[in-house]
């Protein structure tokens, strides 16, 4: 069974440019998570989806970040415009449901903003 797929694995952009990350969860997983991991730190939740509904986006900086999961399957996280401080690893995870179910993580996208 394929795991959580993320692309791209690496992205280098100039500040003020837009950037988008894509995540395809494990087939059949209803819950999808986006986490931000700064260098040497633990991941922090940005947004959680139950199917296509964002049920927890309290940590998402909505002035520049947006996310969507239109058909309740894959998801896109966008930053526009990117700032130097956005350099980090963006992790996607999925689980069957948010209660009781194990979260499976993707390999992440490492973003460098110059």
């Amino acid at each position: 069974e394929a795991g959580v797929v993320q692309s791209p694995r690496y992205k280098i952009i100039e500040k003020k440019q837009p950037v988008a990350f894509w995540c395809n969860p494990i087939s059949g997983h209803n819950t999808l998570y986006w986490y931000l991991q700064n260098l040497g730190q633990g991941p922090e939740l940005l947004i959680r989806y139950e199917n296509e509904e964002a049920v927890d986006d309290s940590q998402l900086p909505k002035d520049r970040f947006s996310a969507e999961r239109l058909k309740g399957v894959d998801s896109t996280l966008k930053i526009q415009p990117a700032e130097l401080g956005d350099s980090a690893v963006y992790l996607c995870a999925s689980s069957l449901w948010s209660s009781y179910s194990e979260q499976f993580f993707g390999p992440g996208t490492r973003l460098t903003v110059l």
Binding site: G42, P43, S99, E102, F105
Partner: protein, 120 residues
Amino acid sequence: AQTVTQSQPEMSVQEAETVTLSCTYDTSESDYYLFWYKQPPSRQMILVIRQEAYKQQNATENRFSVNFQKAAKSFSLKISDSQLGDAAMYFCAYRSAGLSGSSNTGKLIFGQGTTLQVKP
């Protein structure tokens, strides 16, 4: 709000020896889950072991075991017979045991991580 603290930024262990990684947490909830995740340099986060707070028995997975002290809010990971492949960053994480509709449900709260070096 819940917090997770890992006070050991780095640890090292000799191959085949035993090492213990520490984790403390703070919560006012009575029902929750605790996890240890491993993140090798490739960055793929892997679940190592899981503990339900309502269970008194410490979880064990092969060479990995935990010492869960609920009253002390302590959750340490013991790795026995350490192998070179155990070298990674280890994260302790907390998750509320709420219903699917709760805003806290599913949200993993991670500690800062401990980098484990295994010496041959």
